[in-house]
Subunit: 227 residues, 2 copies
Amino acid sequence: MDEIRSTDAGQLKVTDRTRHRRMRENGRTDSAALNEVLSAGFICHLGVAVDGVPMVVPTVYGATAETLYLHGSVASRSLAADPGATVCVTVTHVDGLVLARSVFEHGVNYRSAMVYGVPRIVADAQEKLEGLRVLTEQAAPGQWDYARRPNRKELAATTLLALPLDQASVKISAGPPEDGDGPDAALGLWAGEIPVRLAWQPPVPDPQLPSGIEAPAHIAALLGRAG
Amino acid sequence: MDEIRSTDAGQLKVTDRTRHRRMRENGRTDSAALNEVLSAGFICHLGVAVDGVPMVVPTVYGATAETLYLHGSVASRSLAADPGATVCVTVTHVDGLVLARSVFEHGVNYRSAMVYGVPRIVADAQEKLEGLRVLTEQAAPGQWDYARRPNRKELAATTLLALPLDQASVKISAGPPEDGDGPDAALGLWAGEIPVRLAWQPPVPDPQLPSGIEAPAHIAALLGRAG
């Protein structure tokens, strides 16, 4: 994101592809919003075109300020066949249901980021290791220093993609329904939001774990993090 | 799904596109699994190709046994330009983080459905109303009978897509890490799963709601449903 910061003070490039056409009120183009949305999760939906047909696969990711690293095994075949192809990565957090007086005004509160770019298959072993660190720490902070790191063979068997974060858009929808001051308010119906969040549950030990090995502090801490 | 049931006893068509190439052990091709995954959520990621570039947008959906109805406003422009184009709709539920002894064996437990097809823009007012009922009831059971239903003008302003459910694949990943009986077990590290679920929170009334209007029972019941 350095490039963006220096050239336009935290504003993401608005290209024809990322310009908000609908729900303009929800569109954000600052890199701070992008980083917030990306850092709040670890699962994205990666869209690639395979023979002109879109394929959308869920996969894990990790984000630095400038780069989105993602596990690309499922998409690697199509990317190898068309290495210059643009992909679309979308990260969505659902925050709540918006229940209005009218069905038409019902909706979902959410935060979503959409990143376009030509992914690079990370070949350099050092960068691959660093990308996997980012990805692992995003999902489970502390695990990179606790678990056994990938060896040479495992690194070779992993497809890691790197996508620049300079062509992205963010949409955030929040707040109550919008028909509270319209004619439907007279219907006397309840209206509001039902928030939803991800709730982490207590760790479930592997049945093969010998007794006496307790979950370390960084794993117990996962319970307390925000969804 | 009647067509599928009658022709091949609950098995989804396995085409070249939906055949599982990776994680074969997780692949399911029965329609019961598809219906289970689809009925457990209300947000999907819709992938369309726009000038050959994939665009992945989150949107709401509702599923019957045979049809996926989805809100198609964002995608409608590209679909209108290329009405015979195939789309990919992916629904993913994250169930937990799998923490293994080695980073390489880390993973995510999830249930995911991927549906391919050529969507039909629903034009008939009666079918549109029925599709919106399915979609509304999937997200917020009870709201269709409680809130004001769409009028003619609102119906005309809504783009609803219908996608047949006959070309789909399901992947389910569950269970503990798989390195409990390998050489890494000797490392003496904790390993297991951190489950995660969607947790619905108490309803937040619209600030514009007059006092004395309580949330009806079907809204309070949303709190108790499984994520």
